[in-house]
Amino acid sequence: MLVLVLLHAVVAAVVLSATRLRGTVAAALGIAVFAATAVTAALQGIGSDVPATQSWDWVPDLGLQLTTRLDGFAVVMVLLVSVIGAIVLAYSASYFEPGPTRVRFTGLFIAFAGAMTGLVAAADLFTMFVFWELTSVCSFLLIGLNDRSASARNAALRALLVTGAGGLCLLAAVILLQVAVGTTDLAELGSRSPAGAMVTTAAVLALTGAFTKSAQFPFHFWLPGAMAAPTPVSAYLHSATMVKAGIVLMARLAPVFGDLAVWRWLVVVCGGTTMVLGGLRAMRQTDAKLLLAHSTVSQLGFLTILVGLGIPGATYAGVAHLVAHAVFKAGLFLGVGAIDHATGTRDIRRFSGLGREMPQLAVMMGLAAASMAGVIPLLGFATKEKALVALLDADAGAATVVALVAVIGGSVLSTAYSMRLMRGLFATDHRVIDPEHVHHAPGGWLVVPVGLFTVASLLGGLLADAVGGWLQAPARSLDGVEHSSLHLWPGLNLALGISLAIVAVGAVIGWRVPDEVAASPVRVSGEQIFQRLFDGLLTGSKRITVVTQSGSLLAYLAVVMAIVAGVLVAAIVTDPLAGFDELTWSDGWMQLVVAAFAVVFAAAVIAVRERFVAALLIGGVGFACAVLFALYGAPDLALTQILVETLTIVVFLLVLRQMPRGFDAPPAWAPRVVRVVISAGVGITVAAFAVMVSAARTAPSVGETYAELSLPEAGGKNIVNVILVDFRGFDTLGEITVLGTAALGVTNLVRMARRRRRTASDAATAAAVAEAELS
């Protein structure tokens, strides 16, 4: 499978980079890839006992490898992804106008399908995470396909951020499992039955990731927003495939973590809430596509409960319903897309008599909706029936009771909104004053795919026993348990009764509840939470940035110098006044006098208000230091210091002669007391630390070695000079390079200033000339 995923990527890249490619050719390429994938998966996966595995060691040191394993469940998922993908791609060829957008769509679509294939075939959690994030990115780009629309852009961003945040949770889970268990291989994890606080945390994190991707409460809100994408995108990503990624993850992990109470309750509560809430929301939509979106949310809640619980029968029902849902929901989306294409609207309040205008579509979508509603003899009935049986049979913990209640409630609603959708789209409604009509009949490629999905729903239901038999292996590959099959006619039992009651009650509600009531506001939303968090991030980070990034050099300097003083305080307090006992007063009265001069000059520099005087005073400090050096036994140093100091004064004077004489006093940056405290702090701490350090010397200086080597090895008596040109000649090389570079910088600054002044005056002259000519 890895190779096929790579093939997806390559074809996608080719399509995206070949801008002149015709849309149909691109679509054909994609369909070919999907077909190849499906065939390979079928050949490799069906009937073989040992799943085909492919693996690439990515970073062995981190234990990272990409591994795919085609077990039963993976085969089903890969087939779903590639078959539905091929159909939707064929549909999209008629849906989009020819042009660059269509090609871009096709390329991204293929890339997405590749990522999804990798995700469902992943054999370990790490691989799954990698493809997981790739699907997020592709969906971001696909939702934003119509990037000129602000709502599409923002919906794309939301989807990316919510699923991206979930992805990070999953990442954390992957690493935690790696650290705690030592493997992220799904089969291995199951066999080791890990436990512990870290494992529990990982389980909850992984579940959170799954919830974001599969739009579970409270992360459900991004999914309806994503309907800003073109319909084929919605049909594929947001009903059939990507949103199932979370379900796949839960299906894989439920056998491992299903016994954890926190896992079970999270699944039941969030899944149940999502199922009911999604159903309620779907009831008050007037846009057919949004109705379907909310119904998808609701159905995902259903699937979450089924596969997340990790109860054998429920898992099987979950797998079956996953297939059923993918088939009927894709058909419904494509049907709505075809209607949209033909009439230019999706508002169910604006249709009347469409059923007569488009009878085939009405029949097909009606069958698909019936499957969604759970009407016999469609596939949706068989799977829902199976789910009820499983939940009824489960040992009656409180969690299963809650799950059962939520499933029944949610199912009633799904029948109701199915009914509402069909009535709104196709029924003749005389209240509609100016109904939309078919402007141009949808082309065959817009209708045939809907038909294919409908036929699948119908056949799946009629042949439920056979289909159910095929689905036994996939479910077994998840939890290793043998499952009883689906049935078209399960026989008279409690589940059937409930089932029939659901359909009856739901149909009545769906038929009876008027739009006005349905549209009454029910607002509980994770969306506001997201919005608040996002706004909070923006305002909060701005607040922080305004404080830290004041833009003032002086503030930055103050912080740096205060930190310098601070770290030295930290050092000094560990051993206060160390080394002070070794202090002598001075090395002679000369030194004392010169030191006094240095101090006075330095103090004068901060006191004077004239530039020239300050420059001369700092020269005075330099000369005083030179004398201090000479007195210390460093004539080389003194000589160089005097020469350099002289030169410094010259440069100072050269620059200062052009500036005003005095320092004007711009507004002080901070109260004087702050500046004085920082300065005094730096001075005192540096000096105190210097005393401490000078008393701490433990080993002799390397200078002694230099002294020994200087004459015999380097042929020089002046050790300092020998060090400079010989022992440490490399320092000197660096130093003169610095000096030369600085000179280049100086001359460059001056040149550029002149050039700018000249161009400015040229511009001024040109402007003056132009003005003169005009007048």
């Binding site: 990515w58 830290t548 010989d726 460059n748």
Partner: protein, 493 residues
Amino acid sequence: MNALLGLPLALPLLGAALTIVFRSSSVQRAISFVSLLGALGASIGVLVHLAIEDDIVVSRLGGWPAAVSITLVGDRLSALMLVIAGALLVIVLAFAIGQRAADERSPFYHPAYLVLAAGIGQAFLSGDLFNLFVAFELLLMASYVLLTLEGTDAQVRSGTTYVVLNVVESMVLLTAVGLVFAATGTVSMAELPERLAELPDGVQTGLHLLLLVAFGIKAAVFPLFFWLPDAYPTAPSSVTAVFAGLLTKVGIYCMIRVETLLFPGQGSTLLLWIAGLTMLIGVFGAVSHVEMKRILSFHIVSQIGYMVMGIGIGTELALAATVFYLVHHIPVKASLFLVQGLVERETGSTALDDVGGLARRSGPLAVLFLVPALSLAGLPPFSGFLAKFGLARAGFDAGQHVVVVAALLASLFTLVSMTKIWMAMFWGDPYPDVAEGRVGVLRHHPLMSSTTALVIVGTVAVALVAGPLFDYCTGAAAQLIDPGIYRAAVLGS
């Protein structure tokens, strides 16, 4: 092998001297390329040797005994840094020439660039603390010249911030180095660990922290980073690319040396705090600002936090991940600034409000942005993901959960600010208005676009060969974690 070690610094210096003398720009270009390619070749030679032999190459300058001479020390870390820096320097030089910005306007671009290259090389190789200070001065002085090369008012203003802050940094570093010598009587980095360990606690703390402050300013960690986002955005993008890619990394490199060689200890809570704050506050700045260069500059800061985190965790795995992070981050960050240069050339602006719809205008440009942007945000399968994965793994391994959570959050926020650029500049109505499908900059500046693409291919390659590369980094970390190896290699056991 030992002779090779000198070339990465000597050749650029020689080139710098020649480019000062010869001022014709074609001659200057030829000299620059030859010397930088030579330096790169030598670095690759060293790297290959180390990848096979797993030892440490030492060159004693002047041929003096180890205790006396300044040594150049090439271990796995420094060789890797040299190669990446060398490659980036060559490619960005080509970009700058394609950009026809800086080097046409001043004959001092090439000399300063080569001095910068020499300084960076010297900083990676020097085995002598005072010589390291000199290396810093080399690269700083060259960076001052490069940052103010065009001498615009904006450059002079922000250049002032940059220069003054870094001059203060130099003072702190010089004080620290001087005091280290005062306490130990040597500046040889091979001899220092032993002698520093004998010092009283207070002295050790003070010297340690002073060095960290100095290198922290250079690396731009919280709370010493403020100068960076103000200073970097005004330079031409080719200059910023090198600064962003390499200069802060020199600071990180030195912090690694301080923490593993001079004051070895397994991790540091202080650094973890700094790391967390650096990541988050840096990314907050990126979220707040509305100009591409600024946003990217804040990201430099934020990303530095990750590397500090690795140093702070301090285990072998963490160090390996940090080294890998360096390898990943240098080309990614540089390429983003190069892309920014392309955007600026295409539209004339980098303010988010002034530009829109670039993806429609030029799909390839959008891809050039998207790949490094996603990598920076840490999304798979790009190199940034692996780098972050390594660090997060090391953090959980060491039980440092809090900082890992901060790191994951920071990467989410990074994604937020990258999408901010994407949504504002690449999506939406094309603006400034031009016909769809026009590919201006990529067609008319093939050198700029191909070099940018080359760097991005490099970032993708980092992800592809991550296995062997991480293996090498683990070897580098093994050399780092035991200072005895360094000491034995330099002084002879």
